[in-house]
Symmetry: C2
Subunit: 204 residues, 2 copies
């Protein structure tokens, strides 16, 4: 095979990631073979092993392509103290749901992650980081809720820690259910759903 130009190499790398994303989503991670990825991208396994070390590295690249915008979004939430913590938390939750609803690539990657798989110890590292970041997320939500509590936005019967559990479960459950088989328009529904939930936080 002739050597290809630098831009062409980047193109095949992107095609490999696209193919892997689609196959992971369709067949599952463990069930997709490196050969399947190569064929879907129009190359052979040689190209795969040139660009990536193994399947786990492809998986990380596929995920990182999509999950980074979501993490930046969560970080902006923590950086924005605001004078209406509960309101901005509600807005953030709504915006994240709408972000997912609009970005097809993120939906695909979330479908892969939600559907789950077990690829042996190679993937343990990445999945551990994933779980770590989810813990961070809950921590940030809890700190925002503490700010809300000090400003009297939460009734005294609702502790920030318990409220954080509820918020995480609700938003996460919404994402999970919609990504896996939601047949409704999440972007439309998001403000409505978040309003119903947060009204329960404000007055028990």
């Amino acid at each position: 095979m002739a050597r290809r130009t630098n831009e062409q190499a980047e193109a095949t790398r992107a095609q490999l990631l696209d193919a892997a994303e689609a196959l992971f989503c369709d067949k599952g991670v463990a069930s997709t073979t490196l050969d399947m990825i190569a064929r879907a991208a129009g190359v052979t396994r040689g190209a795969v092993y040139w660009h990536f070390k193994n399947k786990a590295e492809i998986f990380e690249a596929v995920c990182d392509r999509a999950t980074s915008p979501m993490e930046t979004m969560l970080n902006t939430l923590a950086a924005e103290p605001g004078e209406d913590p509960l309101g901005s938390l509600e807005r953030q939750a709504c915006e994240i749901l709408q972000l997912i609803a609009r970005d097809a690539r993120m939906r695909a990657v979330l479908e892969i992650l939600f559907r789950g798989f077990d690829g042996g110890p190679e993937f343990a590292e990445y999945l551990a980081r994933e779980e770590e970041s989810r813990r961070d997320c809950r921590c940030q939500i809890e700190s925002v809720l503490e700010a809300a509590a000090t400003r009297g936005q939460l009734p005294p019967s609702v502790s920030p820690a318990k409220a954080a559990i509820a918020v995480t479960a609700f938003v996460g459950g919404l994402m999970h259910d919609w990504v896996l088989d939601g047949d409704y328009d999440l972007a439309d529904m998001a403000p409505y759903l978040t309003r119903v939930f947060f009204s329960g936080l404000r007055n028990t």
Copy 2:
């Protein structure tokens, strides 16, 4: 090997299921070998292939052992129309959470299911039934919420369909988060969490 008595055979079958449950939960379904299951049960693969057709059949048996009580619980909800639909729905949600919190076997099986895996097409049939039953669940919840709406328990701005989405997401998210890495006492927390959420449904 000497032939073992009928009761002993049933015992080894149960030991195989116990071993499979623990290994599926610990290592993941795809990463556990039939040989690992056999060794953990103190037998060889011969015994495995005697009692089960393949890994998928073991998986089904492991799951059915735990998920059946939960399904009966959901069915009793639909059979109980009641004169306080929203209240009984809240109670049901709370009881399901407490059921999960108490039954270790169900927690293990739910951990397997939530963690997810892809075992190829062999498992497609069972997972399809699983998804089907979840749809049924949402349907039943929606019908209960319609009964609540006709009795004026829901504000007119909250449609039963949308409320069903929210309820499912909340309870499912709570189960998911707690089973995967919840370090709090769900049985204690359940009444509290459900009250906060359902108060949001009652008054937006």
